[in-house]
């Protein structure tokens, strides 16, 4: 870790003023401090924003919520209104990391979580995300976590956040401030696909500071859930995850939302599947056909080929569960003995 300057910001405008090229904002530190110590990233200075007054969860007119950027993940998942209105989001947060990390990690920081690709973490190997132009080691290497959708020859990794999959489901809005003024970034425009610039995870501009995430009113989200498959029962990143919301009318799908994690460089909203399913009978056959429609775009190698049936099964299962109101049963089974 290279020595760096350290400043604490008292207000958002202080923070923006203190930021200089080569600086980084420090909030919960769960990702950034790790990167600095591992030699993945160097900074000239840190602007400590952890004490800014951005820790409120407030109701928005019309039934949405505004979550301050510095709300801890654990506080966000525990918030009664959030749990009631967006169970998939609470579940997604709780499926990530550990109790200690959720007590430290912040909403804004979670949006900026960087990949867990083993080569990104290994400075002795090429990685275009860590060192642009050096190459992608994950192609032909340790590949079981590699993406199914939207990868490029420059980067095949996936986004690691659970929370962001649920935010994609909800069409959240990222609120950011900069010296040039504030802006609101639709969630779909926030994270990027790798293309030939995999070192850029998001469309946030240098020095821009996330101040809040807005959750719009999404009535269908009251019937939503998040399921995560992983190699260890807890405290592991997703192989594949699925966030879904479903409303049926009679036998048919009236409204459906579907987002997938562990499959792309950004949280993957399954628009094709949603479009296929809307208005169709809410049956396993159609749920399967819907995700097959999405999977037409998928590309996999030998090491990550299992993600195709995994994603298909999980989508079908989660939609069936929502249709039948069985989500609590599955969650209890995940934690209990046989």
């Amino acid at each position: 870790m290279k020595p760096f300057d350290f400043q604490r910001a008292g207000t958002v405008s202080d923070a923006l003023a203190q930021f200089a090229p080569g600086s980084a904002y420090l909030a919960g530190g769960t990702n950034l401090v790790d990167h600095l110590r591992a030699g993945i990233r160097e900074v000239d200075g840190l602007v400590d924003i952890s004490r800014l007054d951005l820790t409120e969860i407030a109701e928005l007119p019309g039934g949405g919520l505004r979550v301050g950027a510095l709300v801890k993940n654990s506080d966000m998942a525990a918030h009664p209104l959030l749990r009631e209105r967006y169970p998939a989001l609470a579940e997604a947060i709780l499926a990530g990391a550990s109790g200690q990390i959720r007590n430290m990690a912040t909403t804004g920081g979670n949006l900026l979580q960087r990949t867990r690709c083993v080569y990104f973490y290994d400075p002795a190997t090429p990685c275009n995300k860590r060192e642009p132009g050096s190459g992608c080691s994950a192609i032909g290497g340790f590949g079981k976590y590699n993406a199914l959708f939207g990868a490029s020859e420059h980067c095949v990794t996936v986004h690691p956040s659970d929370m962001c999959v649920a935010l994609a489901l909800l069409d959240a809005v990222v609120v950011a401030e900069s010296e040039a003024g504030g802006r609101r970034i639709p969630f779909a425009d926030f994270h990027r696909l790798p293309g030939d610039t995999p070192h850029l995870d998001t469309n946030l501009r240098p020095g821009e500071l996330i101040t809040a995430v807005e959750l719009p009113a999404v009535p269908v989200a009251a019937q939503s859930t998040y399921r995560k498959a992983r190699e260890r029962t807890s405290y592991a990143f997703a192989l594949v995850s699925v966030a879904a919301a479903l409303r049926t009318e009679g036998e048919n799908v009236a409204e459906v939302r579907l987002a997938c994690g562990g499959v792309a460089h950004r949280p993957w909203r399954a628009h094709r599947a949603e479009a296929y399913l809307t208005g169709k009978p809410a049956t396993a056959e159609h749920f399967r056909a819907a995700i097959e429609a999405e999977l037409e775009e998928a590309q996999s190698g030998t090491e990550n080929a299992f993600k195709v049936p995994l994603l298909r099964n999980m989508v079908v299962s989660v939609l069936e569960e929502l249709r039948d109101g069985r989500t609590p049963q599955r969650r209890a089974e995940q934690g209990g003995a046989a």
């Binding site: 020595p3 350290f6 530190g29 525990a78 990391a97 109790g99 200690q100 007590n103």
Partner: protein, 197 residues
């Protein structure tokens, strides 16, 4: 690898930082790079917090910071200026064990003992979170209040790895304390005592 390494600022940076550790106040001049973990161990000689990975992946360094369990390896001390830090030896001493420490002893909830201080701090913080009604990944309905049961304990303690494999005994120990706490209503968070070194 860059050809000409940039050593960064050549001036020694030392930030004035105040930490209360196990009830004792310390005024320190610290390198901004110093973690709370290394500050406790290397600067203050407080070894009742352990380094098991230095990357937020094992839980051995768990402390209670202002009452909440956190990973001290990922806490920069500079950012925790003014914080109250409690480690295992601040919870209880050999002569006067905290109920959680006594339960770990009674249930043999450890073998090598290296992850143990972090497990115990985590368990204390975890029961507090549960008492506040926070849900977990295995809470069947995330909209409802979680119960104290083995599945909840296992999930909530999964951020503390134990390579010796004492998990089932750890769960027994925490269950006993948790049930005792539930019976005697919510116990207040333990108050740190002055530790003389």
């Amino acid at each position: 690898m860059k050809d000409t390494p940039d050593p960064g600022p050549t001036f020694p940076i030392a930030l004035p930082i105040q930490l209360a550790v196990n009830g004792k106040r310390h005024q320190l001049d610290l390198d901004p790079r110093a973690s709370v973990l290394d500050t406790l161990r290397d600067r203050l000689g407080v070894m009742s917090v352990k380094k098991g990975c230095d990357h937020g992946q094992c839980g051995a360094c768990t402390v209670l910071a202002d009452g909440k369990r956190v990973l001290s390896c990922l806490c920069l001390a500079a950012s925790y200026d003014g914080a109250d830090i409690l480690t295992a030896e601040g919870l209880g001493t050999v002569d006067q064990l905290h109920p959680m420490q006594q339960a770990f002893l009674d249930h043999d909830g450890f073998q090598c003992g290296y992850c143990t201080p972090g497990q115990i701090c985590s368990a204390v913080g975890m029961l507090d979170e549960l008492a506040q009604g926070m849900p977990s990944h295995v809470t069947p309905d995330v909209r409802k209040v979680a119960e104290l049961n083995d599945a909840e304990i296992r999930e909530r303690m999964s951020g503390n790895l134990c390579r010796c494999g004492a998990y089932v005994n750890i769960v027994s120990a925490i269950r006993e304390v948790g049930q005792g706490q539930a019976a005697s209503a919510a116990l207040p968070m333990p108050v740190a005592r002055e530790v003389t070194r």
